[in-house]
């Protein structure tokens, strides 16, 4: 396990340009817009990073590995390709944690409900990664997976209030946003950042997202 993790981590660094989007971009936006964009902005940047990793990086790697036969090659060894999937999830989570740590370190203030923030971050990241696995499953190849992921990411960011603050969105969009995983994720991150407890409905939507998309991923994921 440790060797696979090590080699895959090296391969991630070799393709490390994506870190510009998963870490650099949110950090940069926070630096330039943090002071003018309102109190929810740091939480939105944490979600931007998690979304980029889950919807673009994770499906890109997994779909490419399926396309190239890497997963299939692994199934001929005593080690299950499931381990490769686990390793990719771990690496994405670690990069997400690094990004979030940097956002906290260089952002305006720190999350005041730390335990709540960590819980929401982990649950939300898990739910988004489950959605990313579904994207990896339906994408025909490694090139199209990040494109499909990005196409799914932008409307999600919109309903989550990334481009236009939530309160200016039409009622129907806000309701969609409340069930979009991304919406409750952003709101719960924002609430815990401000020192409040996460709202139960938000946690429930995140947990439901994890269960539904996780279950779907298990059903539709193809190794070859």
């Amino acid at each position: 396990m440790s060797k696979l993790l090590l080699v895959e981590a090296k391969l991630h660094l070799r393709d490390g340009w994506y870190l510009l989007f998963a870490i650099g971009l949110p950090l940069l936006l926070l630096q330039f817009l943090g002071k003018v964009a309102g109190p929810a902005f740091p939480a939105l940047m944490v979600m931007l990073s998690a979304l980029t990793l889950s919807f673009s990086v994770l499906p890109g790697v997994l779909a490419a590995y399926r396309e190239q036969g890497v997963l299939r090659r692994m199934s001929t060894t005593p080690v299950s390709p499931l381990r490769m999937l686990t390793v990719q999830l771990v690496i994405n989570l670690v990069v997400g944690i690094v990004a979030t740590t940097l956002l906290v370190a260089f952002g305006p203030g720190v999350p005041r409900n730390v335990a709540g923030f960590v819980l929401v971050f982990l649950l939300g990241s898990a739910a988004l990664m489950a959605m990313g696995l579904v994207i990896a499953a339906v994408a025909p190849n490694g090139k199209s997976a990040p494109i499909i992921g990005s196409a799914a990411m932008f409307p999600l960011m919109f309903v989550a209030g990334m481009w236009v603050p939530r309160e200016y969105l039409p009622e129907v969009v806000r309701v969609i946003g409340d069930y979009s995983v991304a919406g409750p994720f952003a709101q719960a991150l924002s609430a815990t950042w401000a020192g409040q407890a996460p709202q139960l409905p938000h946690l429930l939507v995140l947990a439901a997202g994890l269960v539904v998309f996780g279950g779907l991923a298990v059903r539709v994921f193809r190794w070859e």
């Binding site: 060797k3 001929t76 060894t77």
Partner: protein, 299 residues
């Protein structure tokens, strides 16, 4: 009797509306190079994928070392068609990684030397030539110290030199006692390497034997062409037991037959003080065997 290391009995594999393997049975002896030969789409790859535990047979049984394919992954080393590694992984990293998948792996450094990739140690997979990728693939198939190596279309797409190098490598592996199942549609490869071959057509085994035995079954498996130094009567040649036919094309004679045709013919000519000039011996190939059995061409 050599021990059977792989036994496939009445294998049948169907995908939705299509039968990929109809009815295939064979047994592979410990230590032999067993060829699975047939045209594209005959079911060769599906057959070995079932043996490797990558696919579940619709019906029939497969044992590898007495176990089911899924329980035998540590006994098998598999090389599959086309790329199978991350583009940017380096040669040594791939070997080191795959070695970690097995409980008692081979020394991957020695293996890297042996397949001639020591100077490509730090080269990324995507920058290797076709032949180098194949050799790495062979090394990865061997890194778990398998009892059986399954090599699928190993030399497809290689230039003639790389192909010959790969053949040498396969012979070395066998010399180490590894049983090899070689999937190919190259006649020459099968004739040169395999102890026995199974000819597969439309999902069925049409013949299984040593290549020379299969070729020997073909009528007129031998052909001798020459220009006699003096006129020769057809009857004189037809009296030779090995000869089945004589054809003339100007001064050139074509004698067809079986067995040790060429020595028999030259001996008969010598008895009449006739020297065959421009002597050429042509042998039937597995291609001819396949054509004779199925009425179809292999490639």
């Amino acid at each position: 009797m050599a021990m059977k290391v792989i036994e496939v009995t009445n294998l049948h594999k169907r995908y939705r509306d299509q039968v990929a393997v109809d009815d295939v049975s064979f047994a592979v002896d410990e230590g032999e190079i067993f060829g699975v030969l047939g045209p594209n789409g005959a079911g060769k790859t599906t057959t070995v994928e079932c043996v490797a535990g990558l696919r579940t047979p619709t019906s029939g049984t497969i044992t590898v070392g007495g176990r089911t394919p899924l329980e035998a992954k540590h006994l098998l080393g598999v090389q599959l068609q086309s790329a199978q590694l991350p583009e940017k992984i380096k040669v040594w990293e791939a070997l080191d990684l795959f070695a970690s998948f097995y409980r008692d792996p081979a020394d991957w450094r020695a293996l890297m030397e042996r397949v001639g990739l020591a100077d490509k140690r730090d080269t990324r997979f995507t920058n290797l030539s076709g032949g180098q990728k194949q050799r790495l693939s062979v090394a990865l198939a061997l890194v778990g110290k398998p009892r059986v190596a399954i090599l699928d279309e190993l030399t497809t797409g290689l230039d003639p030199q790389a192909r010959r190098d790969t053949w040498d490598l396969i012979e070395q592996i066998r010399a180490d006692g590894v049983t090899i199942v070689l999937v190919t549609h190259f006649m020459e490869e099968a004739e040169r390497l395999c102890d026995r071959v199974a000819l597969i057509s439309s999902g069925r085994v049409v013949a299984m034997d040593a290549p020379s035995a299969l070729i020997g079954q073909v009528e007129e498996s031998q052909r001798v062409r020459f220009r006699p130094s003096a006129p020769v009567e057809d009857a004189m040649l037809l009296a030779v037991p090995e000869v089945t036919g004589v054809r003339r094309n100007g001064e050139q004679l074509t004698v067809t037959g079986r067995g040790n045709l060429a020595p028999a013919v030259t001996l008969a000519l010598a008895e009449h003080q006739i020297v065959p000039t421009d002597l050429r011996i042509e042998q039937a190939t597995l291609e001819d065997v396949f054509l004779a059995l199925t009425g179809r061409k292999l490639s």
